[in-house]
Amino acid sequence: MRTSLFITCYNDTLFPETGRAVVRLLERLGVTLDFHPRQTCCGQMHANTGFRGEAFSQAKRFVRLYQDAETVVIPSSSCVAMIRDQYPGLFEELGNESLRKDFAALVPRVYELSEFLIDKLGIEDVGATFTHRVVYHASCHGVRALQLGERPYKLMARVRGLDLATLPNVDRCCGFGGTFSVKNAEVSSAMMTAKLQDVLATKAEYCTALDNSCLMHLGGAMHREYAGMKTIHLAQILASTEADSEDNRMEAAL
């Protein structure tokens, strides 16, 4: 199996450890990886703020870079949702026939990480060990746009040592919302506080998700409040193994 990574702009810049974990995980499972060095951004920030023309340029760039890929894996639910839900409208309005055709051919080969593991590779047990209490934040795009459903839970159930806490109101938004977190910073913060009350009450050590954008928001608040909980992308949990050196596990937990 050969797959191309689309690591996304903010993971590349802010959360390279997530990308490294995806590489470690997928290579361990026997997947051959490509990384296109010219990749930048899916265009979600522009599209969600109303900058449709700019979002279109980035959408087009994505299709042109990846149209020949066998499969594409993206460790960010909201970026996958952007591609599936918003690209068709952008291309309908601003694209030409060839772009629409290439996109239609590419989009069935684009996978969110947990989809790729479960649907494409058919693997639930990725051979991971992570001996911590963990709470999973389902994220709006994961729950509603991608309908990830049981996939992440199936993966976590097979991680040795992982003690999964139940999160009340699991499908409720954490309040990040991209530029919403800045344009409506106060409401965003109130939503975050409500989410943190539920998350912290689980007494987990780590809060995980398949989207670092929610985690940047929640983790930023946890750090500010000395909450004693850290955020970690699920890829990093799935990449951790018993055989890993303590250093590697420490990196996974960063």
Binding site: P16, N48, G50, R61, F180, N184, M216
Partner: protein
């Protein structure tokens, strides 16, 4: 005790302050937060149980969506059919192009009735056209008869929800309003006692005021029928005792066939109040001699609706049946309540409906009053893709604003224009990452975290830290690894 509505709110979108500004005030009000959270939790829990028991819920949603879409696609046909049937049954149909038009028509009809008083069934459409203050100024005393509307009218408050307009007020606040305005000093906050006080107040109005105003939940083209669903029976009283009835109805409310009510009524009560069926459903067609109002008028209100109808993506906004399930599930509404939206239509549906009714000339902050979480679309009984319309409206706002000279140096606009240049090439992206790392070094503490940023960044760091940029990006790591020959 500060009473319920000591903070003045403006629900006229032309004058209301932007959403974030009012929202911030609302977030600071613990009583409001508690009241709103409690009320929507109760409704949501009830709704959840009733949705699960309907095994055909998704099919019902699809059917309702198709019925509403079809009605809108053929709106002219069905409105004329309604007019013809209603007229044949002894009703009178009036067409109002805008709010001022509707107000004048209604005042004219009241003058014909020599009415100095009027009783009302809850109607958000009348709030949309600001009917009550207009009639009061014209010398007609208006009496609301829905319990929540009485609370708001007597307490001089504004609605914060379209189904439960006084949801932001709790019963001790209701007690205070009733005791003060009805002169009942010994009133307790026992719901039974409060309801009895309202009942006594209302009974006298029902028996003495011969003219009524209503809205409508649905119009049925096939039969010329008007439908109202309600919980308290005040509507039934208004539909039987008065001599004259005026129903103000948005043109989008029409259904093609009587049979369509079967689908709609199953969805509406479950979505709105978490009941299998609402206690009172009133259907009437024109005038029945010797029974109920003998003079009946329908005022069909456009007020911006036909311009929404003309637009492909936005048209679905008009499918709304005003159940409020979207606001009950909305994580933004849950925190702010309804007044922050500066419109009688709050929540996700308000965020798309209000700016469109205002022809995108006002309320431009509303399409941004959402984290795009999609919970509204998930619960909508007629499948309005609210996030899709929000995005469409955001792009319209951007297209308007970016032409304004003052916006050129607006940080959000500047930032997004620069970001677009950065993302256009790998070279630009990587250069920006390097510059960002240098620029942010100054703000990054020894622990590797940023606690405070200037300007727009302060909006982030006012409540959250930000991890400083790691030394190596993913693509640098990948390149290094490739060089090492892994």
């Amino acid at each position: 005790m500060t009473h319920a509505n000591s903070e003045r709110v403006c629900l006229d979108p032309r004058f209301a302050p932007p959403f974030p500004q009012v929202a911030e005030q609302m977030l600071r009000n613990p009583q409001l937060r508690k009241n709103v959270g409690h009320a929507i939790d109760v409704i949501q829990t009830k709704r959840g149980k009733l949705v699960v028991e309907k095994t055909d819920w998704q099919e019902l949603r699809s059917a309702a969506s198709a019925i509403r879409a079809h009605a809108l696609d053929n709106l002219g046909v069905y409105l004329e059919e309604f007019e013809a049937r209603c007229t044949a049954a002894g009703g009178h149909v009036h067409w109002a192009a805008d709010a001022a038009d509707a107000r004048q028509i209604i005042l004219g009809l009241l003058r014909e009735e020599n009415a100095t008083e009027v009783i009302k069934i809850k109607t958000m459409t009348s709030a949309e056209i600001q009917l009550n203050p207009f009639l009061q100024a014209a010398g007609v005393n208006v009496y609301e008869t829905d319990l929540a509307e009485i609370i708001l009218q007597l307490g001089e408050g504004e609605p914060s929800h379209i189904v439960v307009p006084a949801l932001h007020i709790n019963r001790s606040q209701v007690r205070e309003i009733f005791a003060r305005t009805m002169g009942l000093n010994n009133l307790s906050d026992d719901p039974k006692e409060l309801t009895n006080a309202a009942r006594t107040y209302l009974r006298q109005k029902f028996l003495t005021v011969p003219t009524a105003i209503s809205g409508a939940n649905f119009l049925v083209a096939e039969t010329g029928t008007v439908a109202i669903v309600e919980s308290e029976g005040n509507g039934r009283m208004c539909l039987t005792l008065p001599r004259a009835m005026i129903s103000l109805v948005g043109i989008e409310k029409v259904l093609p066939r009587f049979q369509d009510l079967e689908v709609m009524l199953q969805l509406l009560a479950r979505s709105a109040t978490g009941e299998r069926m609402n206690p009172y459903t009133s259907l009437w067609s024109g005038v029945t001699p010797g029974d109920g109002p003998q003079r009946f008028h329908v005022v069909l209100l456009d007020n911006g609706r036909s311009s929404i109808l003309a637009k492909n993506k936005e048209r679905q906004t008009l499918k709304c049946i005003r159940c409020a399930a979207c606001m009950n599930t909305c994580p933004v509404y849950r925190q702010t309540g309804g007044h922050a939206y500066g419109s009688v239509y709050p929540g996700p549906i308000g965020a798309i409906l209000t700016p469109q009714l205002m022809q995108m000339k006002h309320a431009q902050s509303l399409p941004y009053a959402s984290s795009l979480c999609g919970a509204c679309y998930e619960v909508c009984p007629v499948k309005i893709n609210i996030p899709e319309v929000l995005l469409e409206l955001r792009s319209q706002v951007v297209n308007q604003e970016r032409k304004q000279a003052g916006r050129f140096f607006d940080l959000m606009y500047l930032g997004l224009r620069i970001a677009n240049l950065i993302f256009a090439t790998a070279w630009g992206f990587h250069a920006a990452q390097r510059m960002g790392r240098i620029g942010l070094r100054f703000f990054t503490r020894k622990d590797g975290w940023i606690h405070s940023l200037p300007s727009l960044g302060a909006k982030w760091t006012q409540t959250r830290d930000l991890r400083g940029l790691p030394k190596q990006t993913f693509h640098q790591w990948w390149a290094e690894r490739a060089k090492e020959g892994k």
